[in-house]
């Protein structure tokens, strides 16, 4: 399929004062609450994973850009921000070599091989995550328990898949899910902290509101239908919203600029489809959490969604 090199939102354009570097700094600031609570829950392991991920991402980027003869552009911080987001969706026990492979895949297959920043059809973080999940499913499932007492050592969505809805309502309180008092990937456990970060990004206009709004609405609507029909078998929509990777996917991953649509309508549909797909995978798929796979799959549709654009005046 031939896609135009440059797709621009409809006029008028106003310069937002955002540069790539500024956007990346803002994303990292927005992740700070989730990082802090990750450090509080999992201690030094969080710092270790993040340090290795960010450091190796910058290192690979420098190396690959030198090898490929491109101007070195680590200053725009895309590598660092990517490494940070990847660290957020790894378990706190991730071994160092796995993180390094992940960041290599993220930079190489996610960005440089397509000709550098902006040409990648997929989100590099997701490519890396999917490759790691496929290759090292065991290492991706060694959880660490946050402090405090709770009833199970499995992440909420695994409980939903293996033990059913009753167990979920027994084991997890809404407050616990909001604060993140469960096992899981470093950055996905606390929905509240991710919401704070997301709100910051929305206020700073770093990310468009349509994608997260569509994402969360898609989850609520689609899982709500099944919950209303049979609450004994299907989990309630707020559980789906708070558990697993829904929040981080909605605010930090689906909003990746190069792999999401550019028109407001397109972004809304993109978000909705991601949300629906998340619930589909969670309820009927083989994996516990569908949020990351959902974004990965739906980003294939981005060129198609970019065709939805306002009518050109006068035609």
């Amino acid at each position: 399929m031939k896609t135009p090199e440059l797709v621009v939102s409809a006029i008028p354009h106003i310069h937002s004062g955002n540069s790539i570097r500024k956007i990346m700094i803002n994303i990292m600031i927005a992740l700070a609450p989730a990082v802090l609570i990750g450090v509080y829950f999992f201690g030094m392991d969080t710092i270790r994973v993040i340090a290795i991920a960010v450091g190796s991402a910058i290192g690979w980027e420098l190396l690959l850009q030198k090898i490929m003869g491109r101007p070195v552009a680590i200053n725009n911080l895309t590598g660092a921000a990517g490494g940070l987001i990847l660290a957020m969706i790894l378990p706190p026990t991730a071994p160092w070599w796995m993180i390094c492979i992940g960041t290599l895949i993220m930079i190489l297959l996610g960005k440089e091989i397509y000709g550098g920043l902006g040409n990648n059809p997929f989100n590099g973080v997701l490519i890396a995550w999917v490759v790691l999940q496929m290759s090292y499913p065991d290492q991706m499932m060694y959880w660490l328990a946050p402090p405090g007492d709770f009833m199970t050592e499995s992440p909420p969505l695994e409980v939903l898949k293996t033990e059913g809805v009753q167990a979920v309502s027994e084991y997890f309180s809404t407050g616990g899910l909001l604060m993140g008092n469960t096992t899981g990937f470093i950055g996905e456990v606390s929905s509240l902290m991710l919401l704070i970060g997301g709100a910051y990004l929305l206020i700073k206009k770093v990310i468009p509101w349509q994608i997260p709004a569509g994402f969360l609405a898609g989850i609520i609507l689609f899982s709500g239908i099944f919950w209303l029909a049979n609450p004994q078998e299907y989990a309630n929509p707020f559980f789906h919203l708070l558990a697993g990777g829904a929040m981080i996917a909605a605010f930090f991953i689906a909003t990746d600029m190069t792999s999401s649509p550019v028109t407001p309508k397109g972004m809304l549909i993109f978000g909705l489809l991601c949300g629906v797909m998340t619930v589909v995978i969670r309820q009927w798929g083989a994996w516990d959490d569908g949020a990351y796979y959902a974004v990965f799959l739906i980003s294939v549709l981005t060129p198609l969604l970019d065709k939805i654009k306002p009518k050109v005046y006068g035609r």
Binding site: I101, L109, I113, V131, M134, S135, Y136
Partner: protein, 207 residues
Amino acid sequence: MSRIVEEFTKGLWKEIPPFRFVLGLCSVLAVTTSVESAVGLGGGVVFVLIMSNVLVSLLRKIIPDKVRIAVFIVIIASGVIIVELAMQAYFYGLFQVLGIWIPLIVVNCLVLGRAEAFARKESVVLALVDALGMGIGFTMSLTVLASLREIIGVGTWFGISVMPEWYLGFPYIIKPAGAFVCLGGILAIMNVVSARLDAKKREAEAA
């Protein structure tokens, strides 16, 4: 004589299948999970290619144009069944690994492609040389791809452990998605090398 050399060597680099034509990928990606099965399938393809090319070239004057594809397919299919029976009789273990991919050599575009594009217009010797070159090129490509996938993926080569003890493997490469990544990587490297070679040639001509 120079013609013979040319027809032979083109299959090894200039027109090496499947990297240049990107033909027959289905079986290429499926059997390259281990070097053993890649070499096995490559051997089968070499035999079928030689047989079909030689027979088609021998019969090129008497095969009516309108039914040539039917005749080619009959010849190719016979060759494939011979390979299947022989493999079953003498390499049963390999036969069990390759399974469905042996009968599928029939629809490998490479074999029919060489019969249609080359053997039906050229003499027997040239057709034989072409089949040899193409077949060896195909086997080589498969072996390279399979070596890459087997060594990176599980740390063995021909079933022999080649990586240090601590190497855990990278199972992604063994999966179908990894096959595409490897193939893409090899294509990219080949294009870079070709471009460099062409540039050198042009420089030499200009000088």
